[in-house]
Symmetry: C2
Subunit: 379 residues, 2 copies
């Protein structure tokens, strides 16, 4: 059996968890949490990082920070995970879904401007498969209309946007706020887990308060205030040190993990590209303004029947491949709230995209088996 | 140095974390999560359990489940943690704070009825120090006025309410919903962590959906529905299997942990009771309708000066004691939203309650040192 995903242990996770316990502190915001924050801040130029229990929670923090109010409109792709939308729906927002690009599941930046109204509060680009959205265009529009940009960088750890002048900026560092995931299917994992990146300094202080259950605990322990109490809304967004210790072991091996994943991605790509062209199957497209963090490898089939057949065939050969998002605008929860616009690219990816097994320990032999069976099924 | 708290490792935490990783699943709702759910359900007669990333998150789930709307009134003690209130404030509720009892920090059930209005939606009793609130009275009032009861059982694991007929019911199993904490300061820990108990069956199905980010994923994987998608609001309330594996190691040792903690509690009590009477210091009072889970040991000083002096004195002797909640009704965030009623008992506990060091590995020698120094300071 070749699974779809297999969490990778670097070997030091348990060691660091023990270390955390021996310091006497395994609740949140301890030594390992701070080590992770510093790593991300220094490595990627993130202004301020806060680990969270999930990317969902990071997005919820973002929704609170930009002061999302009932009736506010938030523009995001329909082809995304439910949490991208739920975080803002929980604050009463209306979600304005935008279509994906024809050659990429990412939000079609050309179509955003037509959706902006006086009620629009934010744009939430999702970097699908880790590939950058067209951030210059999106940030330009945000500036023009005075909107916030929250990057859903759930899949985009260690990836970069390449500007017109060739400079690279880490994904998650460009919008006013950014959200990452360390769910077990991601490149760097802690089971469940996430992180909010606060790039706009106006949100720094409040982010810390909301993170600490609406209290000024952090400022109090830094001696910046003489009273510690309830000063704002908030939640328990911070993860246990057990989670941060686990994550730290992963971060120490980031380079090795990424090297391995990029090799896997390239192997899939090289061995499938000619076959894909010949059989009208699409492979992932790396936009010219994006680097590749090798988060996932997918195929876009001709239609839903071909995809169903492929998934079933691979399953019969003990290979687990999976389809991905279902367009949120036509979900049971949102279809009556959606404005009725057709989002044909989003629906197409819903029907035709299939993700192949992708994990650190995937062997070349297994990959060749997968590729052979794909060719067997689709040729 | 005698710390205030020291997380206790049973020894098998890392072993189970490794096991979780080897199953290939460390995101939420895996084998260990299910083991923890079953343990609690069988051991305490809880109808349905769902692990959460914190007690805060369990309370937020409860606030969503009872359909808290802007303007709804929620009655709870002012002497509690911010999360008890924040969970409902995030849904737009107004908090109606109730005073504590004269002889106990728990909500004064005699004072609740006068606070009930047509807008009241729920009562949230908090079992302070693990001791039961007057649940017969509270449930009776809830029935009379058609209100929900959400038990904040953050500190109340393994404790029981004793009914008039002598029957014991586990705290957390009595209200429509119950919330537990496994924060590192609790009897049973996972660093950060919590659990929602769903006793009222009307909430069962929706609780599972909200827990799984507003999707019907769980029902889908049980084969109860043929489509899996976005069906409701929700969040990522479920913790990593890393956390559940850690918690499982603790649960296996629940009996041993509780035995040890009860011994510590009784030692403090026996060695301080005469001194307390002679010096007008109050010790914890176990209500006649409650058992004791030995969550914490506290003293109630005569006034804030005496308490400050005591904490400072103990600190000078390398003993860390801490004060506890600050009345929420007079917090910076809520003082202008509160209706102005004086809550004198809550304010008194704010000023005078001090928690003594309390953890599994606290030795008899250390306890005797603490007791001697307390006598030195207060006599």
């Amino acid at each position: 059996m070749i699974p779809f995903n297999k969490p990778y242990l670097t070997g030091k996770e348990a060691h660091y968890i023990y270390q955390a316990v021996f310091t006497g502190k395994i609740s949140g915001n301890g030594v390992f949490t701070k080590k992770c924050h510093s790593f991300f801040e220094q490595h990627y130029g993130f202004n301020k990082c806060l680990l969270t229990t999930s990317c969902t929670d990071a997005l919820e923090m973002a929704a609170i920070l930009i002061d999302t109010q009932p009736g506010d409109e938030i523009i995001m792709p329909s082809y995304t995970f439910v949490s991208t939308a739920n975080a803002f729906v929980l604050r009463g927002a209306k979600i304005i879904f935008c279509d994906s690009m024809e050659n990429h599941p990412n939000i079609d930046a050309e179509k955003i401007e037509a959706l902006i109204t006086p009620k629009t509060k934010a744009i939430v680009p999702v970097h699908y498969a880790g590939f950058a959205c067209d951030m210059d265009k999106i940030m330009g529009m945000a500036e023009k209309y005075n909107l916030f940009v929250v990057e859903d960088a759930a899949q985009a750890v260690d990836n970069y946007y390449i500007g017109k002048d060739g400079t690279k900026r880490a994904l998650g560092s460009i919008g006013h706020l950014g959200a990452f995931s360390f769910h077990e299917t991601k490149n760097i994992i802690s089971g469940e887990g996430g992180m909010l990146v606060v790039n706009d300094r106006q949100f720094e202080q409040r982010a810390e308060i909301i993170w600490e259950k609406g209290t000024n605990r952090s400022a109090f322990f830094r001696g910046e205030t003489d009273k510690y109490g309830w000063v704002d809304v908030g939640s328990s967004f911070l993860p246990s040190e057990v989670i941060a210790a686990f994550l730290w072991a992963q971060l120490e091996n980031l380079e090795d993990i990424q090297k391995k994943r990029i090799k896997i991605w390239q192997t899939y790509y090289e061995r499938l590209k000619d076959f894909a062209v010949a059989n009208e199957i699409a492979l992932p497209v790396k936009p010219h303004y994006s680097t590749n963090n090798a988060h996932m490898f997918y195929l876009v089939c001709k239609d839903v029947e071909q995809r169903s057949k492929l998934i079933a065939y691979l399953k019969s050969k003990d290979i687990l491949s999976v389809f991905h998002y279902l367009s949120l605008h036509s979900s049971p929860y949102y279809k009556n709230k959606h404005d009725g616009r057709s989002l044909s690219q989003s629906d197409r990816y819903t029907d035709t995209l299939v993700r192949l097994p992708f994990y650190y320990e995937l062997t070349d032999t297994d990959m060749q088996t997968i590729i052979n069976e794909i060719k067997q099924s689709l040729a």
